[in-house]
Amino acid sequence: MPTTLHNEAAVAGIGQTAYTKNSGVSELQLATEAVRKAIDDAGIQPSEVDGLVTYTMDSSDEVEVARTVGIGDMTFWSQVNYGGGAAVGLVAHAAMAVATGAAKNVVVYRALNGRSGQRMGQGVSGQIISSDLIHWSWYMPFGLLTPASWIALQARLYMHKYGATSEHLAHVAITQRMHAQKNPNAAMYGKPMTMDDYMKSRMICEPLRLFDCCQEDDGGCALLITTPERARDMKQTPAVIRGVTQASFEGQEQMTSFYRDDLAWLPEMELAAKRVYEMSGLGPKDMDAACLYDAFTPEVLMQLEAFGFCGRGEAKDFVTSESLTLGGALPNNTHGGLLSEAYLHGVNNLAEGVRLVRGESCNQPDKVDHVLVTSGVGVPTGAVIFGKD
């Protein structure tokens, strides 16, 4: 029995639907299309899949997906909590399942009508997303109702403490928008953005402008995870999981961890970094690209520090106009990310991590041996390192 998830699992297939603003179909249809495409991408039959993992927030439950896609017997399924924080958790659960033999081939998926249906940016008022109603009640009466408002509180303090400005945030947004210009499936394809466009975008929750916030989209995305041995017999170059972990830190709340000593720091990401680097035997210098979770631009700055790409408070100097591009120190979200490709709750960032290892990104850097992918910021989260076989 393995005692670590180092090299015990690999991504053998990825699948995604079109990302749109109004899918016109059910979330189950989006989920099953993405799942089926991931299975086809791996070159196996639905009947060979025996495990499924999704988000607690997903509306397409496992057996409905299985029955629709033609998946037969299953021996493993699970759901991961905490919104976008679940993304890497999906991979971690699937990796544990295939490493232990609980299942052979596990598909993880997320599908949502995030624009035409329930919109995340509209906050927690209309319909409470979480069962943790009491938790939200410490914020709702004060009008702190949206992800932007919660993240803005933390971003304000971070910028105050380290002297980061809107221009630093803009570099993240503009770089990813530039990447999306080569990705026809990106919502922002054909819509480049200048510094002037960014600065003119309206304030949402100070200091966050419209273009500091990710979009809302409809779509589905899935990954097929199996052991590296089986993956080698499948159709695609495997993306081997060098290290993967979930991470929640002392004092963690869902989006509102306002009660810790230092709000200008992401201790759960620091924990995730420590774990994946230890497990993989790798460090920040070994990462050739990254897909750092980017629901809001300041999150990227704070993660650059937590994962050791620069020192504490130095991200503002790291994110120059070139550093996050192809030729830069750390090509980041080469597909456009949540900001400019689509808000698939982070699973599309995982798919891009796999494409980078395969050499198939629409913005492919020359040499990619290792890619770091993270999930939601401000929530219990996780990180994974994909490596070339």
Binding site: S116, Q118, R119, G121, Q122, G123, S125, G126, Q127, L133, I134, H135, S137, W138, Y139, M140, P141, F142, G143, L144, L145, T146, S149, A152, L153, Q154, A155, R156, L157, H160, R202, M203, I204, C205, E206, P207, L208, T256, F258, Y259, L263
Partner: protein, 327 residues
């Protein structure tokens, strides 16, 4: 509501888009001095161009003109407008009835935008045509899910000259708290209720805190009765010693701003924007989320001294806010 039923409803309401509400409305009286005087009285408007014929002669108009913002007043139907919601007599009534019959019983006027082409002169007749301009997709709002309906009115004089336009938006919604609405007798049509902030659910672990805010007029801080550790927000067990016993102390109300944001968008009914949202360090050491009042958004800063003030909403709900500390 099933997807199919909702689709059918949406098809039905969208058929109204583009339709005139009814025939062109012609002002009952031409633009006249007595109505201008009454309107100015009611609004507290004292400008002589509207009221004093001699003074008006010296203006660019050369005579008394009507205040531009009176535009709609010339075509208002008076008390007759009130009728028609049970027995629809125009397209707007019919649209609202379709929604009301499907559970969207609440109505809120959300905003209006007016454009004035020029001043109206005495003796002109105002004519208005109102069209149902757009209906939003279904939105989740603080008062419940619903549809925003926008009507657009264009104003002309007797010769067809453009006088201005107005768009008017209302939210037709399913009251989120239908139970509470139903319990208020005589207000079966939630139409008259002013929206209020989202209330905390009063659970076992938090209800006592809000009750204490209301009854004692203080900010309570939960305290472990075993090891005396303070904690906020309240939880049912002490994370230091495991005791479930607790009482509360009253915070002094003195605090400093730890961080803040100014919220502009999206805007929920029941709140006034922009909101200066703050996380404060209470003097006792605990942190809490709140709102800063009596302070312009540009004047808030990290580290600023604030003091608690218990705010009472119109509906009687009490909530602890902060304001800049008295010097």
């Amino acid at each position: 509501m099933s997807d199919e039923k909702k689709k059918a409803l949406e098809a039905q309401i969208r058929a109204f888009v583009g339709k005139p509400v009814g025939p062109v409305v012609v002002g009952r009286d031409p633009v006249n001095e007595p109505m201008i005087r009454q309107w100015c009285d009611a609004m507290g408007e004292t400008h002589p161009a509207y009221l004093d014929a001699d003074a008006a002669k010296k203006t660019v108009h050369g005579e008394i003109v009507a205040p531009p913002t009176m535009l709609q007043a010339w075509v208002m139907e008076g008390w007759a407008m009130h009728e028609g919601y049970d027995e629809p007599k125009n397209e707007q009534h019919r649209l609202h009835k379709v929604l009301a019959d499907n559970g969207y019983t609440g109505v809120l006027g959300t905003n209006t935008e007016e454009n004035y082409t020029r001043y109206l002169r005495l003796g002109e007749t105002v004519k208005a045509l109102t069209v149902i301009d757009s209906i939003s997709e279904e939105k989740a709002t603080g008062v419940g899910i619903g549809y925003f309906i926008t009507t657009k009115t264009t104003f002309e004089n007797q010769d067809g000259e453009d006088l201005g336009s107005m768009s008017f938006r209302v939210l037709r919604f399913k009251p989120a708290n239908a139970q509470a609405a139903a319990s208020k007798e005589g207000e079966s049509k939630a139409t008259a209720q002013k929206p209020s902030r989202i209330k905390p659910p009063m659970g076992h672990d938090n209800g006592w805190w809000w009750e204490k805010v209301a009854s004692d007029g203080v900010i309570p801080i939960q305290r472990c009765t075993s090891c005396q550790k303070l904690r906020h927000p309240p939880r049912p067990m002490c994370d230091a010693c495991g005791s479930q016993g607790f009482d509360a102390i009253a915070a002094s109300g003195r605090a400093t701003v730890h961080t803040f944001t100014v919220i502009h968008y999206p805007q929920f009914p029941g709140y006034e924007y922009p909101i200066v949202s703050i996380i404060v360090d209470l003097e006792e050491g605990e942190r809490m989320a709140s709102t800063l009042v009596d302070c312009k958004p540009e004047d808030v800063s990290i580290g600023m001294a604030v003091e608690a003030v218990i705010h009472e909403d119109e509906d009687g709900f009490k909530i602890p806010f902060f304001r800049p500390a008295a010097r």
